[in-house]
Symmetry: C2
Amino acid sequence: MDLFEAIEKRHSYRAEFTGEKIPDSTLKKIVQAGIQAPSGKNSQSTEFIIIDKKNIISQIAEITGYKYLHSSPAMIAVLSNCQDTYFDMTFYKEDYAAAVENILLAVTALGYASLWIDGVLRRENRAEKISDLLNIPETRKLTVLLPVGIPVENRSQCNKNAFSERAWFNSYNDIEK
Amino acid sequence: MDLFEAIEKRHSYRAEFTGEKIPDSTLKKIVQAGIQAPSGKNSQSTEFIIIDKKNIISQIAEITGYKYLHSSPAMIAVLSNCQDTYFDMTFYKEDYAAAVENILLAVTALGYASLWIDGVLRRENRAEKISDLLNIPETRKLTVLLPVGIPVENRSQCNKNAFSERAWFNSYNDIEK
């Protein structure tokens, strides 16, 4: 799929999946897109666990409280190595977000849908509970979960403010060019 | 350009540009890719200033100390609204990183090159100095700078560790599937 078409079609899918199994080779291709994302000082601080075992997916659906995740045939857990990489700065958030965006575009281009699940993991020890299920060591932090599947429902990208409200030439909030 | 080709060809370009001017319509198309990136709770916390004035670009090149930026015909300044968006959490870093990745892919697909300039802005008041040049209000934070131009030199994506070193199925660091 053309890049710009993928960018336009990418959306947050919060509904049932058909449950159709995704080939391992396809899941690997999707995650490879994340591996090729940039990272601060090329630290490659982001790692991935592909989940395709039904019982793990069901437990994650219960922990998050998102019932529609039960129908997801696969998930990608995104992990971060939060060590400093440049003076006193960390870039692990930027790193995983760029990787997630690559993955979401790859998912879209291959005809699947996904959802960036992030904030909910940071509450009520959900990340810790899911980390236990996946044997994630204490040196890594579960930062994002991405269900992947064929969508049952037809959804689209939520509205974005117009270009003129979010971008300008040479000076903040300047007149439109 | 095909999405997966753009993901593979995207790279950090640290060298001279030809200086050839980029049409406004192309710069807008590139930034529009950033506007269409996801954001936490669709807060759209990321904004953009396209810089195509030579004197501003020269001043930014001096402030960063990256001499090759003098040859850049355009730059995109990425700004963030750092307000909380979900309980006590902020997502502005994730938001801008996803937007930057979309922009880097768009730059690549259109035959240009760029560089994610981030950490260096956080030191020695560089972000503040550049914010003054661009009339960025105190409610916004300059987070990233992206030069855009036609590369003089032929560069490619830096090496990434193999899939088996960064991704596994169902359990951290498990045997390969």
